[in-house]
Amino acid sequence: MIDFQNVRKSYDDTKVLKGINLNIKDGEFAVLIGPSGCGKTTTLKTINRLIEPDSGKIYIDGQDISTFDPVKLRRSVGYVIQQIGLFPNMTVEENIGIVPKLLKYEEKEIDKIVHEMLEIAEMDYDEYAHKYPYEMSGGQQQRVGVLRALAASPPIVLMDEPFGALDPVTRTTLQNEIVELQKKLKKTIVFVTHDMDEAIKIADNIVFMDEGEIIQVASPEEMLTNPKNDLIRSFMGDRSSDIENQPQVVDDFMYTNISTAYPDYSFKKAIGLMARKKVDTLIVKDRDETFLGVVMIKDINHKLKSGEKSTIGSLIRTDIPTAYSNTNAEESFNELMESEYDYIVVLRANNTLAGIVTQTNIAKSLANAVWGE
């Protein structure tokens, strides 16, 4: 738990923090937001003592952090910044392993951690471990930046506009990843942004600041429905009306005439079906319509070559992206663009199959939007 008690900070005559009181619980995803210069970064940096308050106290798990050795404190709190700040003289592996190395972990242990970390981000060790930062895209660099912050398993991670400099598609992907990660690893995350979409998407609680003060702390829904003042209302834009005016969902783009199969189909039967329908994948479902996964023709051919005869049940791939029919369309599209498959499977709330959204669907809808139906 992080507890701010009346934290103040001034530069010369300018009061930058005017008595911050804030409580962030273990495992909470807290997002600081507010106009430029309102003190978000300053607040964040007081947590790892890159900035020392003039007065007031900050407690982590009940202990006053001003009594800690700042270097030790920082090694136990992850830190990610907008400019990424990977060390250009170190490989990805060395960047990720740096905090464990500072903490004098054994070589073997560090090696294990680096492997684990890359796995979390689904980055192939052999492909990435020995790359230098300049050899990667901004999105990949920031993934490594996040992994570097997580490597020594800090319970708290501070992130200052970590995705602010990335292109929108990469940003969406990384937002999804960080939300997943937080669910899995149960970190306490303090995240600064000035993008309300981002805050609404990822926050458990949004902390709205203005001119060095906290104006409102609330869940995204609460802040949408009950913004405390006009400034917050204007930050929310016309999203409040979005609640009635639902944004487009994948349902609107879905393609329902799809080729399906049951897991007990023989290889031969499945291939015959694929040939007739001119497709290279089949969507596999249970008798009760529950979605199971997909089978690909190359997997079947592979097995046939080795002379195996069996049912397609053993070849089901479950890593295809899925979305529920009421998922925001934009989000699913971004996921689809990043995916190696060329479609997304759309499910109903009870996990039964509803349809698919293909890249062609998207292209068509975009064309319609641009040139009319």
């Binding site: 790892n48 890159l50 270097v71 030790k72 404190l73 920082r74 090694r75 136990s76 992850g78 830190y79 910044i81 400019q83 990424i84 700040g85 990977l86 060390f87 250009p88 003289n89 740096i98 905090v99 500072l102 230098y132 300049y134 050899e135 930046g145 570097r148 912050a149």
Partner: protein
Amino acid sequence: MTIDMITTHLLLVFFSVLLTIIFGVPLGVVAYIFPKARKIILKVVEVLQTVPALALLGVIMVFLGPDRATVIIGLFAYSLLPVVLNTYTGLVEVDPAVKEAAKGIGMTKINRLFLVELPLALPLIFSGVRLAIVTSVGVAVFGAFVGGGGLGSVIYESIRVSNMKLLLQSTAVLIVMAVGFDFVMSKIEKQMNKKLTGNSVD
């Protein structure tokens, strides 16, 4: 002109530049870390270089006598500026985001210096050493006047007896030395930059 003289010349340059590195890099680091020492250090090395080389050697000779040590120390003092300045500049110019990250993840000042800042400043420091070497090759010629030997004595001698051929030969050797060092070290410097940033220009 003998091989011996060329070797002597190279040794004079070698030992003086070795001293320059041994003292110059730490001085640059001190200038970077301690703002109070910065002005003094940078001023002193700058003044050292503005003193005419011959005068500097003369002054040192008063204390040490005409000797190779005099030449080496003179060259050392004369070539400090590029190494100190480049070390200092290289450290100052490390990307602030990288410095902030280094501090934020829990590196001590010493950690930051040795794990991040010096490695990143290395190409620029190397460039300073290159300048020091190239300058020293030329300035070492004056060593002949204070008992240093080397190619300076050949040039001095050939002027004295008006031996044009010898004068040209020894000058050519000097030029080849300077240009050669410059060429090879520039190549290495480019490689260093490439390893850090992916481009060789900078």
